[in-house]
Subunit: 386 residues, 2 copies
């Protein structure tokens, strides 16, 4: 199907850009001498993940057990479920392991560790668990010097659970925007996770894997001594938030939302699009960054940026395109003549909108349209839910 | 299935609250003497819509052609597609009408009106079109006194298209929070739409339907002279935004997200939940209102509000529950002792989170769990996409 024939709104993946992003990350990992385990929560799409594995990725990271089940069914066995395990989810994890899935679990507290050990004992299953380490204070995990780290390690190790490694995610990297700050956080992430592994090993607990990563720190890392693997997700498509963080250009962004102009408010300088927040997502991640892109950056079908315009507002199925100099937060605009808006964006015209956050925007669609350089496209299914 | 057995995160509908909300709206419409056409974009769930129709609703409003196709397939024929039509979507509309669906289209500009007329002529189909009227300047539509109104009316009327009515949506009602302001906007919405119908009729164009509505203005309307029907969507479930607008209590909110405590950061006073923004949605609608509920209001499983706590931050699959007095925007918190957070919210504990915006949160889930007063639940499918 050609781009012009795709019904709107639709999620497009520029395959050439995606392949370039995959190659860039894999080459950097190869240079640093570490394995790469992509986080598939960004796309939940087997076609994308196959491209990541074909480029050299080893195993995948998932954010839900549904992802684990779907990708295992698609033939991928080496899976890290990177959200703290709780007892109620153990039966699904057990079922996956019983089918032959090499599923690794994550914990950051003694209660969950004890529950995994007890459940494994009860069912005769040796679970593999990685301990989550907190290296930047933004979310979950045990700090490298906390007593809890060894407590959790011992509960697992002494009760028949394999301590497969330690893992951390310096998600606060999304709040940075200089190469220096990113490199410093990458080093902090590395050092903290390596230190946690060292403490476990000194306590007699084998800890073969040291897994770190977020897209910004992965790309900013200059050396990864002691690290065995890196994880990252959004790098495969990139988005406007990552542009503001400084780890990609606008031309690297491989995801866009195809939209149609369905109306105008000439006196306000608005063109109305059929892509509202249901298509673009409610993610306004760039609102806290140096360049606020509203609900997205419009481009022509061929990818040419329309830097003077922005999607300044959104209802469920309506987006408002207006001049970029307007205050996108107040959703009031001016400075674009009526002639300009109706002539430049006539009814039926199609545009591509670069999104704030590829993980959030992709999740709104049952499928991607993967667009080849010749303009033809293929449908790539994605899934959702838990 | 009992509430305790449902895997998390999950979207729950409290059926008793939903039925109360449906009855309240329908009773108000009956008192005002108008038909009621619910907007099904909120739930995209046939079980919910059947309850709305059983209570007296006549026909439905949809925001996508996929909704029209799905609900027509489920036996509902009277459907208003309430987003401006564009030529590229006419083949799907034609297919629905050819199957017997009484699908009504909406336009607000001459180009789209002419395109519908030409397409109908080409295919021998008499489309029914309602003209969208702008009564509050928030989005689409033609202002009642604009010349364009009659221009569009004539293009349709003189070229074989049935002008079925006028419709408006005073969506700026979401920005109000007093009964007086809501009643005034409801009257403005009514008067503007009735005036548009009057002008069309004076020009010799029959305009049988006058359709108005948004949840706040529908509930605030004191008289609807000249109006034939009202539309509203979110009233069926309500949410925290509607609570802040002042049209429901927290106890009316019928949608919640079931979540499990999966960890803690004791020094920060955080409990970590397995409901992040993928489950709660990125909608932060209450951030611009009088009471900012962060990513949602936690409750116990039995519905008891935990007013001292809030979901103050969210990653894709992680939510941060912390004390409500904290600044939820900065996502920093204090004032909750470590003992309190780990003892009050132990690992594995389940909570219900009331959402900012029921339309956005529901859309993240493939199904609702409809919870009966006895605590048992049934799975109600919902769909997404376009």
């Amino acid at each position: 199907m050609k781009l012009e024939q795709i019904e709107t709104p639709a999620a497009l993946i520029d395959v050439a850009r995606m392949q370039k992003n995959i190659a860039r990350m894999q080459a950097h990992m190869n240079t640093l001498g570490v394995a790469f385990r992509p986080h598939v929560k960004t796309t939940k799409c087997i076609d994308v993940v196959r491209a990541q594995l074909a480029a050299g990725a080893r195993g995948i990271t998932v954010s839900t057990l549904k992802e684990a089940e779907a990708f295992f069914a698609a033939g991928i066995g080496d899976i890290l479920y990177a959200v703290s395990m709780v007892p109620s989810k153990l039966p699904r994890a057990l079922a996956l392991r019983r089918q032959g899935c090499d599923l690794k679990l994550v914990v950051d507290n003694p209660n969950a560790a004890a529950a995994i050990a007890a459940f494994g004992d009860q069912h005769g299953e040796t679970f593999e668990v990685w301990i989550e380490v907190d290296t930047d204070g933004h979310r979950s995990g045990i700090q490298p010097e906390q007593d809890t780290l060894l407590e959790v390690g011992r509960i697992l190790h002494e009760n028949g659970v394999k301590v497969g490694g330690v893992m951390t995610h310096a998600g606060s990297s999304y709040e940075l925007n200089t190469a220096e700050a990113l490199a410093a956080l990458a080093e902090q992430e590395r050092a903290g996770c390596v230190r946690a592994a060292q403490r476990l090993r000194e306590a007699g607990i084998a800890c073969p894997v040291v897994s770190v990563g977020s897209t910004p720190t992965a790309l900013a890392a200059q050396q990864l001594e002691g690290v065995t693997e890196v994880r990252a997700g959004v790098y495969v498509l990139f988005d406007l938030v990552m542009h503001n963080v400084g780890v990609c250009t606008l031309d690297d962004i491989a995801l866009s939302v195809l939209a149609t102009v369905i109306g105008h408010q000439e006196d306000k300088g608005w063109a109305i699009l059929d892509a509202g927040w249901m298509a673009l997502s409610r993610d306004r991640g760039t609102s806290r960054q140096s360049h606020d892109f509203g609900y997205g950056q419009p481009c022509l079908l061929n990818g040419t940026l329309l830097a003077d315009y922005v999607v300044s507002g959104a209802n469920q199925e309506h987006g408002i395109l207006s001049a970029a100099q307007a205050n996108v937060k107040a959703n009031t605009t001016a400075g674009t003549s009526a002639d300009d808006i109706t002539q430049r964006f006539p009814i039926g015209m199609k545009l591509r909108i670069l999104p704030n956050h590829a993980c959030a925007t992709g999740a709104q669609f049952p499928e991607y349209h993967a667009v080849a350089p010749d303009g033809s496209s293929a449908e790539w299914k994605r899934f959702y839910g838990w």
